[in-house]
Symmetry: C2
Subunit: 635 residues, 2 copies
């Protein structure tokens, strides 16, 4: 019997605009969705009528419960238009929940507001497979990204201000300000200072007992401005902040420095939100984030700056995932939203864990990994599953005829420009040629030991023959199954076949998860494993990359997993190399470390960490109907 | 009969730390507070268990209801430690609601997170007169300031990117990108573009009909980079962003520009949030914000950039005030939070209006204005009341013995340093000498035609004789009454006398509100009226100020009210001139305009719009107890 929150859609043809579909369905009170999941009011905090934060404490309460099946959704190498990965994730869940009577939770990432107002538009799915209310999904949601922005930038301010104050004060002056005497003449260390003392090997807890040398070591972080890797962030596509000079005000006494802003979702704090497993774990990760080095080469952390606790306070509500609903009334957890090209690109471990307990044995949790299987899925397996200890039973690869034609040699696809004729008329040969890309994603994903199901996301102009070509190629490449889906046009009903295939795949999965590399390998060995996985014949390190690898190894960080920052438009570092290129040498331009999040990230070629706005951004169409309060023009 | 949500406090002596008092009281579910105010669940959106956004639609529903009494709280010229204005506002409301059985709503500003983590700490009141939960009050609240940051910075990104795209494209190229042809070859203007066409006097609605000259005028904003007054904002004390150079990335093609960040609460969008009266009004105000001029001297607005609608979408939830509660269970509306020195410093018109309807006839709304009566109260009367058409019946001036001693010639008071002996031992002569400051605040405030009640906020070391001296001086200066209050130590019970005095003042008030200047006066005449009000003998304009006044007058903006950006530490522009200085010449360094908010703001001397962090910021003490989730160390 379907759950009482399920609703059936009246689908129109041709498919109306996303916002019109979203606005045509009255969402259920989120409390009803929560109740259907077995959540009681004390388990969540409402944020308006259609969003609720599910409190992490639920995990403790449900710890005896068995987990449901765990399904990850990746894709082939996409065109700049996207191949409907979120849409497929939502459509599959609508099928499982509304048509196959399964307990199901969709785990999605929160989109960045930058692209929402820029080129891309929203990310709530599309057609009859969407999360609603789509404006609330695409905008502030429950404030998590804003909290990340605030925390990231508080740390940035703490860094520059600390250098400024150290520049103008003696060791003793600094110490007296850091540990001022109270009215009774007593000094005390703040708790966070004890962390720094421990790191320095000083076991004293009375500030008055420190020797002058200990005072110097404690109070003077001696940050090397050249070494600072921490940048400011903003959730806006503001290209003019990519590279800036700060400190030019007269009061800053000439302490100028070149730095820049990234988009907020690229912040290490976003990566921590996605990878953390508890409030206590988040506190530790935030405290050990490394912002740069001292002049003598010691890594300097947020806790050295005294700010790890305050960052946790800013992030304490963000740790709870947000419950929303699909068009057909199935539950969705939205949480974290790192970009998959420049970060690890997966939604949060805590959302997946809560979801797995809520659906229980025989239920399904479908979580999305960003971009292609070379990017999001690789990071899902080697980083996210490594930290969560969760094991997926099934991996989905979303493919479109459009993208496969591009890989087969079709003309360039450019966002905002009309599609070439090749993409809207039958061309089986082009599709078949492009299937090399799909095949490599299948074999790569399968190498982790999971069953791979290919979801062919059907567009109106796709033909039977084209889709059959994809099915055959997928099966030859080792897919467990390959299914044509029409959830964009039909909602969950269009993904019932996919749902059944996923169910079979999950039920027949027996292998343990096989990581691509062991953590104990050196940084270079790990990078080379991933490069080989992409199809590269070798790796080339810049001088800067060599230097950083040496430094991180020396600092004891070499046993972390690797998070490659690489273009999503090719298995290689060159966006124009489509299909399944081989023989290329992967250039590592630089290597950075997110010690709090827990990974080393090599930069493959040049990757922008701050998008820009086009001449006519999406915002031109966006407004509020001031009579009804409804948002117009979001896409 | 007191309302069922009222709770009695067990007060301890000496008064414990603010956070300990706040944590010792279990807040009521905010739904209970809402119900007691007569609000039904469809009137508000919950944000967790202890906060709710009261929807603006309530105003429409209650429009037939009579307003309650309207009381504004200002203060004397403060020390850097603050004189307890928020605390008195809360204490008075606790007295009215919990002891005098009146319907009452407190209207407070949302504090900036910058100072919370910097020097000042939180702003939820103090002692036994606080808003709870105080951590939620002081941190993200319901995301309004984050929304302002996002909107402000989207506009900033739109400005620089537009200049960038105009620099590299022909008129026709620009136009084709702004109005691209769709699949059928049709072009259309986005709604926001029609606003620009109207402004240009072009009545055509079909893009294909524009002449080349009209295309150029429409598509090329031709912004003069030197004229841009719009700055980016961040809700963090980040002094290194005060002056920066942007656009130094290689892709920005050398289009570098000097600019800077202000703290978010200084954004014009915050001023709009505080002064707007409806969603439709906010849409218009956001669209007409002027960001600078074209090279030919025409003001360029957010709507010219196509972004007014998107800004409104970002701000559409922020327009609803947030309901919270005091320690004694009386209701509080928190909304908007502009700084009173660099902005108008008052909470929102919509919060006050909703509150006046909710308390109804005979009830009380107590709203706080920032800093002294020269700053917050002047702007309350001449800007806020002018836009809201509301009339206060009573103005409170909060005074402390400490601040009066400073005005009488006591030694400098410095935040973070122990108080001089003079401030903690009896010195009636010093207090009497300092009462010139109080007297001037009384006569200035009284000149608007309202009854002035002085609230003497008693500290433990203040003596009877000192307080009596203040009472006498206040009555001589024309106060309606002057009352000693102990709400910090005793909660509402300590402000019952104040509550009775306020009630008498409200009931006997009959005069209409007398503004300080008519809007029709010239910009200079209005500035000079305010300067005289401060005690200045004249005004001196910089060349830049003269130029700007001339420009704004020419652009047709001279009939707006004036919002002076002036130090809060003196009636004059010199923080060290205490008491009631006269004969000084007020220097106007620059004049800017907030056309959307609706005021001209002269800068008196140098005012920082971005605070900094001290060597040991408040954040050192702030952390989460990861076992309970409670915030520790907020002050």
């Amino acid at each position: 019997m379907p759950s009482p929150t399920i609703r059936r859609l009246d689908v129109a043809s041709p498919v109306p605009a996303d916002i019109d579909i979203a606005n045509s369905v009255e969402p259920l009170p989120i409390a009803d969705i929560a109740a259907e999941l077995g959540l009681r009011p004390e388990h969540y905090d409402l944020y308006g009528k259609y969003k609720a934060k599910v409190l992490l404490a639920v995990l403790d309460e449900l710890k005896a419960q068995q987990d449901g099946y765990y399904v990850v959704v990746g894709g082939i190498t996409p065109t700049p238009l996207g191949e409907g990965k979120s849409t497929t994730t939502v459509g599959l869940c609508q099928a499982l929940g509304a048509f196959l009577d399964k307990k199901v939770v969709t785990c999605l990432r929160q989109p960045s507001q930058g692209p929402t107002f820029g080129i891309k538009g929203g990310a709530a799915g599309g057609g009859y497979s969407q999360v609603i209310p789509m404006d609330e999904f695409n905008l502030h949601l429950t404030g998590d990204i804003h909290a990340i922005t605030a925390a990231n930038n508080l740390l940035a301010a703490a860094i520059d201000t600390r250098i400024f104050h150290e520049n103008s004060q003696s060791d003793k002056g600094l110490f007296n300000r850091l540990c001022p005497a109270n009215k009774e003449g007593k000094r005390h260390f703040a708790d966070v200072m004890l962390r720094r003392l421990t790191k320095l090997g000083i076991s004293k807890t009375d500030p008055n007992e420190l020797t002058p040398d200990e005072i110097r070591r404690f109070a003077r972080l001696d940050i090397d401005p050249e070494s600072i890797t921490w940048r400011r962030v903003m959730d806006v596509n503001d290209r003019f902040l990519r590279k800036i000079t700060i400190g030019q005000g007269p009061e800053e006494k000439g302490m100028v420095r070149e730095t820049g802003f990234d988009i907020s979702v690229a912040s290490e704090i976003m990566a921590i939100l996605a990878l953390t497993t508890s409030l206590a774990d988040m506190r530790e990760r935030l405290g050990r984030m490394v912002i740069g080095n001292s002049k003598s080469g010691e890594p300097i952390t947020a806790d050295d700056l005294g700010v790890g606790g305050a960052l946790t306070v800013l992030m304490k509500d963000a740790i709870h995932p947000t419950l929303m609903q699909t068009l057909e009334g199935t539950p969705v957890l939205v949480h974290a939203g790192p970009f998959a090209n420049i970060a690890h690109g997966n939604s949060s471990i805590v959302a997946d864990k809560i979801a797995l307990k809520l659906v229980g044995k025989g239920g399904f949790v479908v979580t999305e990994a960003g971009f292609g299987a070379d990017i999001g899925t690789e990071k899902f397996m080697d980083i996210k599953c490594r930290y969560s200890r969760l094991v997926p039973q099934c991996a989905i690869i979303v493919a479109t005829i459009r993208a496969l034609k591009m890989h087969g040699g079709g003309p360039e696809v450019v966002a905002g420009k009309p599609l070439d004729h090749a993409y809207v008329s039958e061309n089986v040969a082009l599709v078949e040629a492009g299937c090399v890309n799909l095949a490599k994603h299948i074999s790569n994903t399968g190498s982790y030991g999971v069953n791979v199901v290919v979801a062919i996301n059907k567009f109106a102009s796709d033909t039977e023959a084209e889709m059959n070509a994809v099915r055959s190629a997928a099966m030859v490449a080792g897919a467990f199954d390959a299914v044509i889906c029409t959830h964009h046009a039909h909602g969950g009903k269009g993904a019932v076949e996919l749902g059944l295939a996923v169910q079979r795949a999950c039920e027949s999965q027996a292998e343990p998860l096989k990581f691509l590399y062991p953590l104990e390998s050196s940084i270079k060995e790990k990078i080379e494993s991933i490069a080989k996985f992409y199809g590269a014949s070798g790796v080339e390190y810049s001088e800067q990359a060599e230097k950083q690898i040496e430094m991180y190894t020396k600092q004891g960080f070499s046993n972390l997993p690797i998070c490659m920052a690489k273009t999503q438009y090719s298995f290689s570092h060159v966006p124009s190399m489509k299909g399944a290129p081989t023989g290329f040498v992967l250039p590592i331009r630089d290597v950075r470390a997110s010690i709090g999040a827990g990974f080393i990230y090599p930069l493959v070629g040049t990757m922008s960490t701050m998008p820009g706005l086009p001449t006519r951004p999406c915002f031109y169409e966006i407004d509020v109907d001031t009579a009804t309060g409804k948002v117009m023009g979001l896409s």
